[in-house]
Every structure is written in C-alpha cells, then in structure tokens.
C-alpha cells in the first residue's frame, strides 16, 4: 500500500491544514483512494471554497424560479406547464492544453447537466476568450476550440445559436471556453439528484470508464506553469455520438416512472456524482467497483473513482424497474450496470476485488469542504477620461478601423462552423443581439445571450459586474424578450492574491445589485479560478448567460434595417463616455479610464419601453448599443440589412463628435421606426421617462455623419474580412 507522504498530499492539491481536517474527519490516515476522493471533492472546482461566501449574496429567487443554484442547472417557469433549464460552465484549463477535446467535452458536460434534469437541450451558446491575435498560439487555439465545439454540438444535434468572442493579451496563457446549454422540460417532470429509498439500486449508464481525465478537477484548480503541456493526459476525450444516444435513452426512461434520482458524472466523475446524490438524500451508498463497466483492464479503485471519462450517468431507480431501465439502455446500445445500493448509514463504502477500499463519511466530505474568507483589497479606482482630451479622428475612418478590429469583426467564420438550425426552431440565428429559438410546437420563444465586457470589469469590477448583467438584460430586451434569469460563469485569476480576490468580491457585489434591481435572478453558475500563467492573471471575466421569454415568437425584433425613409431613434442618454472604450483602446492605443456607469433604474425603464414598442409592432429593427458605441451599432444594423441600406445621422453639437459616435454610455438602444409610428414611439418614451431622440434616417447606401460618409459595402468588406484572413494566416 502506498504510504501517504507530504509529497503525495501536495500532489493532490491539499494544503497542510486541509489534510489536518481529513485526519480529524477520519480519525485515521486515509488510504490513497480515499485521499484522491478528498482531493477532488475539496478542489476549488468542485467545492467553490474561495467563492462560496460571496456567491451566497447573489439573489436567486423570483416567483418564476423553480430551482436556483445547487442543482445541476437552474430551472425557471415559462408557463403552460413548461420549464427552461439552463447553465453555463467553463472548460478553460483543458481547452488550453488540448483545444479540440477540451472544448468538445465542455459542450458535452454542460449538455449533461441540463438533460440529467429531464430537459431536452434546445440550444447551445459559448463565451470564448483568446489571447492576442499576434501570439503564436492564438490561431491554433481558435481553430481547435471552434472545431471542437462544432464537432460535438453538430453531432448531438443541438443548435449552437450564439455566443461571444474577445481577444486580449491577458488570455495568452489561459483561454476561456464557457459553454451554455438551454433545455426544455415539462414542469412536472423535472429530475433531481437527491437519492431516496434505502436499498434502492444505484445504476451506472452510458460509456465505459477509462483512465482519461484523472484529476481534471484538480488541474482546473491550479495555476499554469511552463510544464502545463505535460498535463495533456488529464484532458478527457469526448464522444458526441454516445452523448446523443445517452440523451435519447435518458429522456426515454424519464418518460416512465423508473428514475428516483439522477446525476451526471462530470468533474471528479463517479466520486462527485455518488457523493452528491447520497449527501443530498442524507443516505449512504455501497458500491462494488468490480461492476463498473471498464474500458481497460486492471484499473484500480483510485482510477475508477477519479476517472473523468465522458458520457456517463449515475441513477437511483425504483426497485422492480431494473429490467425496464436495462431494456431502454440496451436499445440505445449503452452500458447499464447495477453497481450498488443505498444504505442508511451515511457512508460511502467501496469495494474492489472483494476488499473494502474506501469507507468514508459522506456529509463531512461533501458539506464540510473548506470554506475560505480570503483576504481581499478593493481595486484602485480609475479616473474618468475627459473626451475633450482624446484624439479626434475622422469618424467614418475610425468606424472602418473599429469594425475590422478583433473584438468587433464579424464572427461569421466561427458560427458557420456550428449547426445553428438543427431542431428546426431557430428563429434568430447568430449575429443579432440575442438568439431566439421557438419553444417547439408552440408560439412562444426563448431568447438567449451571453455577455460580459472584461475591460470594464478590469477597470472597475463593481461597475463591470453591473454592466455584464445589464447588457444581458439589454440584449434580451432588444429582441423583445422579457428577461427572466441568468446563469453566471465567473472566470478569475488566483484567489489567494488579495487583489484578485478583490475583483471577485466586487464583481459579485455589482452583479448581485444589478440582478436584484432588474428582477433578473441567478439560477445557476460555475466558478473558474486560477486562470493565471506564471503569475499573470486574465482580465476578470464574469460571463453572464441571460434567458428571456417571448410570448409571441413571431414578434421578435432583429437588428437588420428594413427600409428607406425610416427614422433612426436613439433610446437612452448619451454623455459621450470614452473611458475604457474600444475607441480609446483601438484608435488611441490607451487602455485606461473608468468604465461607463450603469444607471439600473434607467436601464430597467428603457428595457420596458423597448419591449413594449416591439410587442406593439412599432419597431422595424432594434439593436442595443454596446462595444464601440452608437456609430458602430448603427453600422451593424446597416451591414445586416439585406440591401445594405445606409443611414444619414444628425449629430448634436453639444458633444464632441467622436464622443457622441464612440462613447459607450450604457442603457441605450437604436430603433428603426416608420415615420407613421414615430409620434407614438416618442410619446411612449416620455411616458416611460426615458430619453429619446431622432438621430437620423435610413436611405441610400452610405453612412454619413459630421459631413463624412462611407459606403456600407466598404464597411462589410472590412467587417467580414478580418477573421477569415486571420485564420488563413494572411493577417494578424
């Protein structure tokens, strides 16, 4: 038997005080299998030990929330006995080491989180962050991640309908791959993970267990160094075909009464799934590991318990339903094995080759995982930037440059590699403010978006956290959907550094405030820390996945301009905020200034106004103003129009022109409105106490502002050109 040395303990990522707690819980030394189980259960990835204290402050309740954080995914009510189940999850560390498989298994994992609850997945999204385009690895990582997401999602037949991508040197050594899945279930057929019924069989289904991904959760809880490439064997390999079979088999069995509880095997595999089910049900489990379907011979208990082989589930089924369940999985040609049963002693007892190889108390492991109140310091406040001190560039030239920069260029090259139409319900495809999918066989629609502006969060984590939530709210409102709830994926550096912990604390505080004031609760989420390489942390990136409801999906608004002679209406106040803007960074080469503040009460009123106008059929096209400011938003609407319709803008003289064009003031939308409808729109805006102004008209094929003009076609070339040229290696 392997002796437990301080070295072995350190290799398992356990700190000396944590190991002391292990000894206290057990009253003896653990064996290697037990140590491995403690290690993964108490890893940052599984235990949220640094963030728990702060996550608890987020609002999680609303009348339409059926289940908030703590389950595999959040559940919200959309009426008609239907529920939407969704979550976003990171697969950052594996995707950097092995981009195709890392991203693919990220998609597979989040899909399982959703269908394990009884939902058919209906949409996937992803929020991606890559390093500097000039960095030698970036192109390879983009190519691998995109084909991995496509390779998995396309095969399982769930449309990938949206997402976002940023490039920044802070991600050179730690890319972010956050995947989100949205599923649809009957409200009275939702499945949870709490085990119940002493003596009930514990069943393993799906793929066989191999030696892949052992210690993936521990890897995801440490900083990278120059040896990180050696961790490739800890990355799992995905099989989307098996996942597709698993979805169909699980949903087929879920239509019967056989399942008591079900939990997917994600990070930390059989360990976390079995502990979670037992702990939630207040029961124990006895498992014979010899019965686990195995891909390789001679696997030890340690390897079986820590394997992160993909496409596996653990279930508790009703006694007497074993044959029914077995038949379903055999029909889909998947493994099915009764590996144990529930006990009343609150312990996890594992045997292998006739010997007890682990005997652990469940609750102390699952519930008494360490919780830290790590020291933190509030980040220094940055000063606002005075627009009058910022360099002025010809606005249409600046526009042309901006539309071809990595953060604003078209993502078509990416989303054309994703099947975004399979399932036949995609009403708004990628490229708009939010994706819209119809609720199958109904007239309702679900709008979905992912948002965060990392440069704002870096400049001011509190404001940046508020802004991420507000932008998700705005993107959903811009298509006409009522924002219902969010999932969050908090990506940060090493929480043991007080300044990083300060970013986490402040960003969560900002998010929480925005969620409360916008009635937009957090129902699920995931935390990814230690995104650092050789001491360099990523920009703080709390990604928000927002979900909204359209009662009539045929009434969603799109961003493309529809005709000539229509008014271009600006909703919301413009002060010309250039701090932390893309104009400042890309045109002036300055990453500085405080980010635009969000006025949540105004955000809410503007959102209500826009949704009402869309619902009343008064809006021809709608777009929120975000990265790049007003002129970029108008150009995006023109470029999306079928006939490349232009816009003549009438800038006010009260602000410097570049501040009006490129300021990133929050809470704003651009609407295309027919002249006939204009009086009503203006009246409604006043009614909602929201700033409104006609800033131009559609027509022609050019965008003109401040006496300068540029053809929409020329903008399209620049906008569509960058990413394909970059990926072909002809441009950095």
């Amino acid at each position: 038997m392997t002796a437990i040395t301080p070295d072995i303990i350190a290799q398992h990522g356990l700190k000396p005080d944590e190991y002391a707690k292990v000894l206290e819980i057990l009253g003896r030394e653990p064996n290697l299998t037990e140590l491995g189980i403690f290690s993964v259960m108490w890893s940052e990835h599984c235990s949220y030990k640094s963030s728990k204290k702060w996550l608890k402050t987020l609002p999680t309740k609303a009348p339409w929330v059926i289940r908030g954080p703590g389950e595999n995914a959040g559940v919200i009510d959309i009426g008609d006995n239907q529920a939407i189940i969704f979550k976003m999850e990171s697969h950052n560390h594996p995707s950097f080491i092995e981009p195709y498989q890392g991203a693919a298994t990220g998609v597979g994992g989040i899909l399982r989180d959703v269908f394990t609850m009884g939902a058919r997945p209906i949409a996937n999204l992803n929020a991606l962050r890559f390093g500097d385009p000039a960095h030698p690895k970036t192109r390879h990582l983009v190519a691998g991640v995109v084909s991995g997401i496509g390779g998995y999602g396309n095969c399982v037949g769930v449309p990938t309908v949206g997402g976002e991508v940023n490039f920044h040197p802070s991600y050179n050594g730690n890319i972010l791959v956050n995947a989100m899945t949205v599923g649809l279930a009957d409200k009275d057929r939702i499945f949870y993970s709490a085990a119940a019924g002493i003596g009930n069989p514990v069943v393993y289904v799906g793929s066989k267990t191999g030696r892949d991904g052992i210690h993936g959760a521990t890897m995801a809880s440490a900083e990278f160094d120059e040896k990180s490439e050696e961790k490739r064997p800890t990355v799992q390999v995905g099989d989307p075909f098996t996942e597709k079979l698993l979805i169909e088999a699980c949903l087929e069995l879920m239509a019967t009464d056989a399942i008591v509880a079900i939990q997917d095997m994600g990070a930390a595999g059989l360990t976390s799934s079995s502990f979670e089910m037992a702990s939630k049900g207040g029961l124990g489990i006895e498992m014979n590991l010899d019965l686990v379907p195995m891909r390789e011979e001679g696997m030890s208990a340690y390897e079986i318990m820590l394997s992160e082989s993909q496409e596996r589930m653990l279930m508790v089924i009703k006694p007497g339903r074993e044959d029914l369940a077995r038949a379903v999985f055999e029909k889909w040609e998947l493994d099915f094995a009764i590996v144990g049963h529930l006990t009343d002693n609150g312990r996890m007892v594992l045997s292998r080759h006739g010997e007890i190889v682990a005997d652990l108390p469940i609750d102390p492991l699952a519930l008494a995982s360490p919780e830290y109140d790590r020291p933190w310091v509030a980040p220094a406040k940055r000063q606002p930037v005075d627009a009058r001190e910022i360099e002025t560039v010809c606005p249409v030239e600046a526009l042309k440059t901006l539309l071809g920069t990595p953060d604003l260029a078209s993502r078509r090259w990416i989303w054309e590699q994703y099947d975004h139409m399979v399932m036949g319900d995609t009403v708004q495809r990628p490229g708009g403010d939010a994706a819209v999918v119809r609720v199958h066989a109904t007239g309702k629609g679900i709008a979905i978006t992912t948002d965060v502006t990392p440069r704002y969060v870096a400049a001011d984590p509190y404001e940046g956290g508020r802004q991420a939530v507000a932008e998700a709210y705005r993107n959903l409102s811009a298509v006409g959907a009522l924002p219902l709830a969010v999932t969050d994926n908090l990506n940060f550096g090493n929480p043991e550094k007080p300044e990083i912990m300060g970013q986490i604390v402040e960003a969560i505080r900002g998010m929480g405030q925005a969620c409360r004031e916008l009635d937009f609760p957090v129902v699920s989420g995931n935390v990814s820390l230690y995104n650092e390489t050789q001491g360099e942390a990523i920009l703080p990136t709390p990604a928000i996945g927002g979900v909204g409801l359209l009662n009539d999906v045929s009434h969603s608004a799109t961003i493309d301009l529809k005709g000539s002679g229509n008014a271009i209406v600006l909703i919301g106040e413009t002060k010309g905020w250039l701090g932390a803007s893309l104009y400042l960074r890309e045109i002036c080469g300055r990453e500085e200034g405080s980010p635009p503040p969000v006025a949540l009460h105004r955000e809410r009123r503007a959102g209500e106004l826009v949704r009402q106008l869309i619902g009343d059929g008064l809006v021809q096209a709608s777009h929120d103003i975000s990265d790049g400011g007003l002129l970029v938003a108008v150009a995006e609407m023109a470029m999306a129009s079928k006939d490349k319709i232009g816009v003549a803008l009438d800038a006010p003289t009260t602000l410097p022109l570049h501040a009006w064009c490129f300021g990133e003031d929050q809470g704003r939308y651009i609407l295309e409105v027919r002249d006939d409808d204009l009086p009503t729109v203006l009246e409604e805006a006043v009614e909602h106490d929201t700033a409104v102004r006609v800033i131009g008209h559609t027509g022609g094929r050019v965008i003109s502002v401040g006496g300068r003009a540029i053809a929409v076609e020329d903008l399209v070339k620049v906008h569509e050109g960058w990413l394909p040229a970059f990926m072909a290696g002809t441009k950095e």
């Binding site: 084909s147 496509g150 095969c155 037949g157 099989d239 075909f241 098996t242 079979l245 399979v422 036949g424």
Partner: protein, 229 residues
C-alpha cells in the same frame, strides 16, 4: 401518401423532417427504428440527416449496411420514392442507390449557411411544384458534401438529366464562387436514372416555414404529397 422516416442511432434531423412533412401531409409520418425491417406499404421513404452510427467509419457507411437499408433498397427497386437528405444522401450513395461519393468539403470545415440552388428539372415527383431553372434557398450543414464521381459516371448523370440541384447565386448563375464545398459541377443533389430516388446535401426541411426565414423547402414536400397521394 404513406410516408416513413428511417431513424438510425445518431440521426438528428428525423424530427425536423417529420415536422416539415407533416405540415404538407396533414398527418405525422411513420418513424422507423433502424432495427425494424418489417416495413408497411409505403409511397415515400425519407433517410434523414445526422450522424448515423456516429459516422465513425465514413459518413453513411455503417448505415448503408444496416438491415433496414436492405429493405429500403428493395422498396426503391420496386419504385417507392426515396429521399435522402444530407447524411441520408451520403447513406444512399454508400448503399449504391445513387452514384458518386461525398468527400470532405474543399475547405475541410463544417459549413452551416443558406445557399442558393438552381432546380435543374421539374419533371419529378420531388420538384413538380418548382419550375426548371428556378432559384431556391435551402440551408446546408455538413462537413462532407463535396460530390465526386469518375468522369464516366458524371457524363452519365449529366446525360440522363439526373442532376437535381446545383449551387448557384441568387440569379441562378452557377460559378466556382457559388460552390460552397468543391462539388463537381456544383452538384448539390442527384437522382437515380428513374428519378425516383433523390439525394441532396441541402436541407429543404429547414426552410419550410416563413418564421424560420423562408419556405422554399416546403414546395418539395408539397410536390411529393401532390404526386403520391
């Protein structure tokens, strides 16, 4: 019209085509699991898109050797209309019901987008409600749609009027620039010599409803219902 859709493990457009077919037909078509070889009397068999058996060996190769495909072949020989879409087209070529092969796309990437197609003939049960030369818009979503056949086969396909659709621009011009995947002769779909079997890479079922962005695909299902009812 009595229609059935074959469902393989890994099929993922089976429901989509069922929905589109039902809209034209007025009732749900029969869904046939790949192990069922006892087919009832049928007028139309659809082999849908997806990744049958994971497409691990070569797209469509495993499905082409499944028991149900033997039955589909037997029916096709008796004149039952067969429609293979995307992976279904790959399966029909692998099974020898249609000539040629579908190779990796020219750019080696999966492509999902709308394309324009020129309807080459309206003298079939699949296209009778279109007009020859008409330009329609269907989406494609595939990584292996690059049609290839040897020179003799291509000559025969072209000579017999077996080309069903070609990739073109919005005005119907067939050029290299409108070819998304490198297919020979911009071929997007072909018939067997009797024009009773059609295989095509684009998905008519995905644009069969205006809410989803267009309904050019609906005409194909309407044509089949009209011809076979």
């Amino acid at each position: 019209m009595k229609a059935a859709i074959i469902v393989f493990p890994g099929s993922n457009c089976d429901r989509d085509v069922a929905v589109a077919l039902e809209a034209s037909l007025g009732h749900r078509p029969l869904m046939v699991w790949h192990r069922d070889t006892d087919l009832p009397d049928l007028d139309l068999i659809v082999v849908p898109g997806g990744f049958s058996y994971g497409d691990y060996l070569r797209c469509g190769a495993m499905a082409a050797h499944s028991p149900v495909l033997r039955e589909v072949k037997a029916r096709a020989e008796k004149g039952t209309r067969v429609l293979g879409i995307c992976n279904g087209f790959q399966i029909l070529t692998e099974a020898g019901l249609l000539p040629g092969v579908l190779m990796r796309n020219r750019d080696l990437r999966f492509i999902c987008r709308d394309v324009h197609l020129r309807v080459e003939t309206d003298a079939t049960d699949f296209t009778r409600q279109y007009q020859a030369g008409q330009v329609v818009r269907f989406p494609i979503a595939h990584a292996e749609g690059n049609f290839f056949a040897d020179a003799e086969t291509v000559k025969a396909i072209e000579g017999n009027g077996q080309v069903a659709f070609r990739y073109c621009d919005a005005d119907g011009a067939v050029t290299e620039a409108t070819n998304p995947n490198g297919s020979l002769g911009n071929i997007a779909g072909i018939y067997n010599p009797g024009r009773t079997v059609l295989g095509l890479m684009p998905h008519p079922e995905r644009l069969a409803e205006d809410l989803l962005g267009g309904s050019d695909g609906k005409t194909m299902f309407d044509s089949l219902v009209e011809a076979l009812s």
